[in-house]
């Protein structure tokens, strides 16, 4: 009890133990739901954009409940920027790969020349690859938008 009191006195304004514990328990489930929305976009509403926004919102929630440094410790800025670039690169790379293997630009059935699964299965799988790229890019951009707008570009204090 005494430990709890000392801890409460040390806390900054606006930080609460209850909110922090609840957020720490919620964040893995939010991220799992975001991945589910991306992967299950073929069969249910959702897809790359919505799932990416949910994944980004989990990091925004961490930064809101703790502070900005905690969310940077979970995913550093360099990793975040790399994920965003890789996301856009996956989309355009799949498109260019289709053109290189004898199809039209963004015609996924041409990828059958690499691994023969059948052109229709490749069209389904190509949509999945593209959605993963969109999800990564959107997650990275939402998180970096919040980091830069919430801290004024300094990335140490803020919100």
């Amino acid at each position: 009890m005494k430990l709890l009191q000392e801890r409460t006195e040390k806390q900054k304004f606006g930080e609460s133990l209850i909110i922090q514990t609840a957020v720490r328990m919620m964040v893995p489930f939010i991220q799992l739901f975001g991945l589910y929305v991306i992967v299950h976009g073929h069969y249910s509403p959702g897809g790359g954009f919505q799932g990416g926004v949910i994944l980004g919102a989990s990091f925004v929630l961490l930064a809101l409940a703790f502070d900005l440094r905690t969310s940077v410790r979970y995913m550093s800025e360099r990793v975040n920027n790399t994920l965003g670039n890789v996301g856009v690169l996956i989309y355009t790379g799949v498109a260019v790969l289709c053109a290189l293997f004898g199809g039209l630009f963004l015609d996924y059935s041409a990828l059958d020349a690499i691994i023969p699964l059948g052109p229709i299965a490749w069209r389904s799988f190509g949509i999945f690859l593209v959605e993963v790229g969109v999800g990564l890019a959107v997650m990275s951009i939402m998180v970096s938008l919040f980091w830069d707008l919430g801290s004024g570009g300094e990335m140490d204090e803020g919100l």
Binding site: G41, P45, G84, Y108, I127, I141, D156
Partner: protein, 90 residues
């Protein structure tokens, strides 16, 4: 000035409401948007792409350019925010 703004808003809203009177009804099978290409997608999308969710099939496959440049637009917005706002401490 505020009264003028109110009048302008009301007149614009009335014109927009008048414009909706020519729209086809909700779910009308003979609407112009539903007779040309939509039936083709609804009949053949599952056979052509193996994706039961038609929205994903249209966004990811038939309208791939649209989704690609949408992603590029979001990427450019993030790039602009980072390059304008981000400052290193040193």
């Amino acid at each position: 000035m505020k009264a003028l703004a109110l009048v302008a808003t009301l007149v614009t809203g009335a014109i927009l409401l008048y414009g909706t009177m020519d729209f086809p009804a909700f779910g009308d099978p003979n609407a112009p948007a539903a007779v040309h290409l939509s039936n083709n997608y609804i009949e053949q999308a599952v056979a052509e792409t193996h994706v039961p969710n038609l929205v994903t099939a249209v966004l990811g496959d038939y309208r791939g350019y649209d989704t690609m440049f949408e992603t590029v637009v979001i990427y450019c917005a993030g790039l602009a925010v980072v390059s304008v706002l981000r400052r290193s401490k040193s």
